[in-house]
Symmetry: C2
């Protein structure tokens, strides 16, 4: 690993591996196959935009280092960014790249055999990014003596509680988020092309602060305008922003792959009464739900507090109000484990981190407000300090 | 569909569907399940950053419209961007979102049953983005009377030959690419933080030209510097650019999801002799390979022309030299069908479009140059007009 890429010391990686191995023991897994880029970064430090081809990290239950297995052209990047010894950073041959029926899982299986793991219990994901039905079936076919165990989100659940060095990066990400929202408030104006405003916002993401640079976010900033605000995940067009429209941003500052997402809304000109009302409900709901964000409480408690505010105001929202966040790679900055919704009884612990997003998508218009926070010893700490509530710009 | 999102007229979509249905007939498929966002956009116009949750387009062999099935919060976006009637734009319930063992494939199966397709031959992908082993197994379990046919890249192969309206958008993308490379040459300077330069480059991507705006690219621009240039897919850091370093950019202008990627290299100060030599070889190899890019020739012919130049100069490169490009969503702007390599005998036809990338990743340094072009009646037309060869900046 090059010094430039040493974002954590070896004790941090050892701590992560220990927790993952405890989870593997519980799940009855001897060798874990991991393909989610966020989990790969968490375990090895590997950081490259190469997840469009198959790549993997293997973790064995014994004391060895994780093993990175990716494409040849990415071996240089893996050697720069991974903390492991070079013999644990391996490439499959180029002929396996996008050349069906040949598949990188063939090489992966050989490597598993070579390391004496061919008869072990192999843990594979069933529902994560970048591990396809073919990757799965080829691996099983090529390892006829292994026992396969379906494990989902094993590393993701370990990631839910952050370490102090991780929290430090999320605080930095929150500072970058503040810069991005400043830019949003500055550049969004009637008469401006949406794409020109988006350009300034993207620039803010990368530039970060004077003290530390920004990184790319796992999602493009969502900046819908006018009728687009009724939809949650549209990106920009080159149309002009119009007087009287509303807009919101859902974006994230990112520091060394750690995210701190935030949403805020703007109305150009006098807001219609329905917008004023929703803004008030969302402000109240945000405080009510954050009041429940402390150790011993659950996502259920937070969702119920929000629901009470909605009920009292005659509003409804079907979708969940948040999810854990931290490391992210496209297409998502969510961790896919707990959800802030009524049927989730995960017990909150210090240094769990969530993005709570109160998105109200109505008939023809919408409104978003959100916070990213950690659970402290007794309450919640928001990572970005941005005044809440609808911003009215004349 | 809102007028703002009508990028193609209905005859273009009808033409695409006809070709896809011909391919389905050949493959013995009655109902195609498509989850690749680029293929979904191609068939329906759907354009949102929502591919981090399961979403699908169904195409039946009969004359009906395609059917979009996604998440509830994205229904608004689908109704704005899809060309189909509202009854063919459907949402699965929120409770199926990231809530294992519940899965959106359960709803998809019900919808397939409801439309009378439960006993049909269902075509599913095995190796595309965003269709997981669990999505596959749940769908099969819930449709016990269907016959499943594994089809890969069926729509991708149809996309290989572009229509005139598609070529027009790729030409516009090429104009945006020119702007991005201009910015790269302008902002990359010793003493500048990599992230600050990256910010300006990202801004160029979104802003596009005065006539038409840019879109986000399927990959972040790759802008490795110094030792990073030996790796192919690292993104930026916040370190300062140093005198004497080299750098390259691999980026793409994007117009309404159509890409036109390009790579160029910079040396700060006097280039070392090895860089001068590689630059010369790559310039010669680019011309030799482009000379073979015409109807009736094959990727094999192009790869052999390049290889001859390498051999004559005592250089080697294991990886392929290119792939088809056009519509793209993260994580990739490649189409995953033909590859510019020796064992590919796909016969070139007018309006096939490729990104030919001559990336030379050496021991501790690297160099990239590329072009995106279409096959014309008798040669190749590059979409961006950017002077080739190493740029030396003092």
């Amino acid at each position: 690993m090059s010094k430039e890429y040493m974002h954590f010391d070896t004790t941090e990686y050892a701590r992560r591996l220990k927790k993952v191995r405890e989870a593997m023991a519980k799940a009855g897994v001897d060798v874990l196959v991991e393909t989610d880029p966020a989990n790969m970064y968490y375990l090895t430090g590997y950081d490259g935009w190469s997840f469009y081809v198959p790549q993997h990290v293997l973790v064995s239950a014994d004391e060895g280092e994780p093993v990175w297995v990716g494409r040849g052209v990415d071996l240089g990047g893996a050697k720069l960014t991974c903390w492991m010894k070079p013999e644990n950073v391996l490439a499959y041959p180029e002929v396996l790249v996008q050349n069906l029926p040949k598949h990188p899982s063939q090489f992966l299986a050989q490597e598993i055999e070579k390391r004496g793991w061919g008869k072990k219990r192999i843990g594979v994901p069933t529902d994560c990014y970048y591990f396809t039905p073919r990757a799965n079936s080829v691996l099983r076919k090529e390892l006829p003596n292994a026992k396969f165990v379906e494990v989902d989100l094993l590393v993701n659940w370990v990631r839910l509680v952050k370490s102090e060095p991780e929290i430090a990066l999320m605080r930095q990400a929150g500072k970058i988020t503040e810069k991005i929202v400043d830019t949003f408030y500055r550049v969004m104006r009637p008469g401006v092309r949406q794409c020109d405003a988006a350009g300034e916002i993207l620039k803010s993401c990368a530039v970060g602060t004077a003290e530390f640079g920004g990184d790319y976010a796992s999602c493009m900033p969502f900046i819908p305008i006018g009728a687009q605000t009724a939809a949650s995940h549209l990106t920009w067009t080159d149309q002009l922003i119009q007087k009287g429209q509303s807009t919101y941003i859902e974006c994230s500052g990112v520091r060394l792959r750690y995210h701190s997402p935030l949403a805020r809304s703007i109305q150009f000109g006098k807001p219609p009464q329905k917008m004023v009302d929703v803004n008030k409900v969302v402000l109240e709901g945000m405080e009510a739900a954050l009041d429940e964000a402390r150790p011993g409480k659950t996502p259920h408690d937070m969702a119920m507090a929000w629901q009470k505010v909605l009920d009292r105001n005659g509003l409804s929202k079907e979708s969940r109000i948040g999810y854990p966040t931290g490391i992210g790679y496209p297409p998502d900055w969510g961790e896919h484990t707990a959800s802030l919704r009524k049927d989730d009884r995960t017990v909150l612990e210090p240094n769990m981190t969530f993005h709570m997003i109160l998105g109200m998508w109505m008939d023809g218009w919408g409104f978003e407000s959100s916070e990213t926070f950690r659970i402290t010893d007794k309450s919640a700490e928001c990572f970005a300090n941005v005044e809440r509530g609808l911003k009215v710009i004349d």
